[in-house]
Symmetry: D2
Subunit: 348 residues, 4 copies
């Protein structure tokens, strides 16, 4: 009943195996090893982007902050939703890496609409030295609430940005879950929809700690490399990042793992819907569920050892039937048995 | 004959084994896992510092830049040698992490003397708003030229810093090699000598990518945590950093591995001394050797597949007997057979 | 009919005179001149704060950005309204000077309420390394919409901040206009209400370019001086800043000038109320008026040479009676005749 | 006998007069006033550079730090001498404004040679992600020791920079003194010699506080404007900067004032040479003199009220004949009588 986060589970056996295989003999450092060439080739093929610049870093925040810094200037403002990870969960990493850019919040939810984006951009007059200047659009796919943008939605948002000459970044910490849910290709969800740079997360989907950052426009490449080094995110024994990513990409493991996680979440949602007094607050589309359950249900679950984020409280005091918001995340390793047991306990 | 760097070799089997063992089931993220508590306990015991704050990051540059930023202010200057890694090899990471502090260069070599430090500090008047303000002392142990400070030398340098109220940081990317060479305790080489914070490198000595940062003064703890998060160096699946460090610390592996690397380098030096026309430019004390060999010798070695850094050239043109500077580094995995073969080829 | 801004008018004769008088012979530089001692004494007396640290800078943005940087850390978030000058009109200066702090927006108007502030603070959990940390409260007095907080309102807001351990900064670019409107003392509006640092603007109220920054807590003094120097805002011929401020403070000129500007604005408002189809959007309390006038009225005014900011448009197309938002600012030099003429033209 | 600095003297009457004349009525703010158009035209004409971008700021450090930031990237290193103002006297302003660039020191004196520059550039391998990247050359003219580069010397240095693709900045805090000494045109000393951007100081040469920054390549213009605003150096009542500069430029006042200051310094040097036991340490070329005088001479001068910087000491203790280094600066207002009296006292 470990539903706290998709970063609390173990790594995939195939990824661990790739790490072991990479641990043989001497290799060049800092990404010059042959393994990284193979990573580059595979990701270019997967994204149908033979000219793309491909890099690896070890954390999602590094991927986001480095990509946004490469696409922006310190006097600009990034456009993102108020729930975006880059705004709420990175302790000002984007502000740090960009040298002091601002984040302007678009809309009020985890997904933005083209109209909301247009409104947010227009709120800052173009070409006026006094206010923050327009900078990149940052979308999150899947969102922090477990929802996804369709490729058409991404295209429409990117078009608004492009109309203002702004680059588009896609935070793909849960990239694989989104592709699995949409059934589209990586290319369709990114550069074909107008995305300039994307992170493709491995950490939350069965790796130890690796994220690919891909620029479809090669002019950003050298600056990104300098920013990565300057921020201490260039690994000397880079082979272990490469190996993780190779293991993750082999045999479509990245996709089948995400499909599995999404499927388990779907089972959990289905079960939750069968319970009384449960409110699903966002229609789950990937491996994350936001739902309100009665306090008494939470008490039973927590007492039985279930692990998940409870956003409202207190757990111990108040009416038994009062609904309290919680988040349940299925990582790849969640079993049918765990879900069944969770639902059993929830049923009471 | 892989002598390019101690970051080009593989990880220790025991470290890989610890990674595998840590890859079981769900765990709290971000350093809240039980493994990190054990790391903390072991490092506090090893350093005889029960109150020390202990953190893990994945790269040596992160350790250095985060520690220096925590100990300094943007309007200050760090004091280090002109050969210090923080000055020459981090693409301005210290300047970035500190928010724009300056590095003032002390002396002209890889080791500084107390007089040179005193001169460098005095070059900036204290309390004058116009010039950079005095900031932390940064020593490297072992140095970038393979030499070490004795504990007495560290004590004398730290005393100069303390006389000016300045904190002392020790870049211990090759901490274990230095302890192995000195035969002292970690405490003697650090807080007992006046060091306020130290990094203890694992990456170059048989880990995949992990460095401990230890503050002997607890008041820096929370700021360091915020800086680590803000710079994207807090790992979600932190367990794999903890596991590496636990494997590295078990059974004194960190020390015996360094002793082994130092011993292999000593064998190599001994062999090099037996060759004609070889000049050892710095008396090697750990696992790094700087030496000048005739061009013809380099040509034979490179042709035979030896890998190492050649600082002077060109390799292909010029007198056969002209001496050219090179660096040879022994990592833990270098065998007697490799050294013998290297010397055979060098002998011609 | 020059109502564009209180920074488009000339300087007060007495201020110009003080500049001329200061232009005699040699003096120490960088604020060490005797004139600055007199400034310090006068401002300490005016604020009834004998221990206050007092500094001069030349622009309001410098005052704001330096004060906020001194009161915050890069991983924190400042709390201000969405209309605050520091958010909308400084091209990310606060983010630059703080080293990348975030601005969290409180409420939706130019004034915030204690409840809104409490909500904004609580939106970021305390002590969680992942999100921005709580930083200073930044209030603007008078606001960007020409309104003022009462001393009781400031006290209530500062109390919310203090309950969370947060310092309070007051952007007083129009400090004098606010004091004039409230009829309170500078002390009542600042430290007695819980304010830790304040800027007292001279530029908009008859000086050439000078703002005082006052810290009621002396511990911030040296850091502010270093930040001022490092940001190139320490003037070598500082005497001309001191002289302006001395001229401005003499004979309560700062206050009588603001009273005059406020009074002229009151006359203008009274006149505007007498016109048909005029909507005063914010109840003006100082020297700024936000009002909607019919397009035809704007057309007449602009044609007659009136200068002011028109926020809606277009001027040339659309129904004659359509109301369009504009801002009218009275600086000290606006005469009764100008106001009368403006109203005449507006009347048609 | 006020020889402390050329920033301790008063402003020129013509400059004060221009300020008074500019203090009439309302004007657009932020550099949009007609006065600034005239400044732009005059400086373009003076520099024979019709396309140049021209800006005004109020301090020399702002000019330097903003120009260098515009010409560099945070991962680069600026090349300057160890005596450069940007290195020694700006409390890390260049590091702050550039976002953390490094300053690499060239040579060991106040002037650098092309060979020294070449050596300093070559010390950082090009295209290596690990070390700081090559950034702009920063020259100071006149230097901090009162010496000047000939136009040929500037050309030779700029050529070295250009060979590496690096832009060249000239810190002209004492620009006028240098032009006066060389007898060349502003164009010859700048863009014709390979300079990309230059500051032309007014503050030290009879203004209150104004420096022009001129880019000969228009592509830097908008970025400079954004950086100036973001660093709080864009003045709302910009007219007073424009007026100073106009007064300064009228009737070649900038040049004749510098000629006067240089001439007074020459008289002082001539007088000093006539004294026993005086050593002129740098051959003075502008309005600054570095000389060693016996302690007893200093004691007499200081007792008589002379004001200047004494770098060695103590004044009160030690052999009467011991030579102590001092700096004497003649600003425009130093009279023949003052110099005569100084020499009288010095003679004893």
């Amino acid at each position: 009943m470990q539903l706290a986060s998709d970063n609390s589970g173990p790594a995939l056996p195939a990824v661990m195996q790739a790490m072991s295989e990479a641990n043989a003999g001497h290799m060049p450092s800092y990404g010059d090893e042959a393994l990284m060439s193979r990573v580059r080739d595979r990701l270019r093929a997967l994204f149908e982007a033979p000219q793309a610049s491909v890099y690896l870093v070890a954390t999602g925040t590094a991927a986001n902050a480095l990509a946004l810094a490469t696409l922006s200037q310190p006097w600009q403002t990034v456009f993102c939703t108020p729930l975006a990870h880059v705004h709420t969960d990175e302790c000002n990493a984007p502000e740090f890496f960009t040298g002091g850019a601002k984040l302007s919040l678009v809309g009020e939810a985890d997904k933005m609409t083209p109209d909301e984006l247009q409104t947010a951009i227009s709120a800052w007059p173009a070409g006026d030295v006094h206010n923050p200047q327009h900078g990149p659009l940052a979308l999150t796919q899947a969102t922090e609430r477990g929802r996804i943008y369709s490729c058409a939605e991404i295209t429409a948002l990117a078009q608004v940005a492009r109309d203002h000459g702004l680059p588009c970044y896609l935070d793909g910490a849960r990239f694989a879950n989104a592709v699995a849910a949409l059934g589209c290709s990586p290319a369709e969800m990114t550069w074909q929809a107008g995305i300039d740079a994307v992170s493709m997360g491995g950490t939350k989907n069965g790796c130890l700690g690796v994220e690919a950052v891909i620029f479809f426009n090669a002019e950003n490449a050298w600056e990104f490399e300098l920013r990565r080094k300057r921020s201490a995110h260039l690994f000397s024994k880079h082979r272990y990042l490469s190996a993780q990513m190779l293991g993750y990409l082999a045999d479509d493991l990245w996709l089948t793992t995400a499909q599995m996680a999404n499927a388990q979440a779907a089972k959990l949602v289905q079960g939750l819907r069968g319970l009384p007094q449960v409110e699903i607050t966002f229609e789950p589309q990937v491996n994350m569920i936001f739902a309100r359950l009665p306090r008494a249900t939470h008490q039973r679950l927590k007492a039985a050892g279930a692990s998940y984020a409870l956003y409202e409280g207190p757990l111990d005091q108040g009416p038994a039937e009062e609904p309290l918001l919680a988040r349940f995340v299925c990582d790849w390793s969640i079993t049918d048995a765990e879900i069944a047991r969770f639902l059993d306990v929830a049923r009471g």
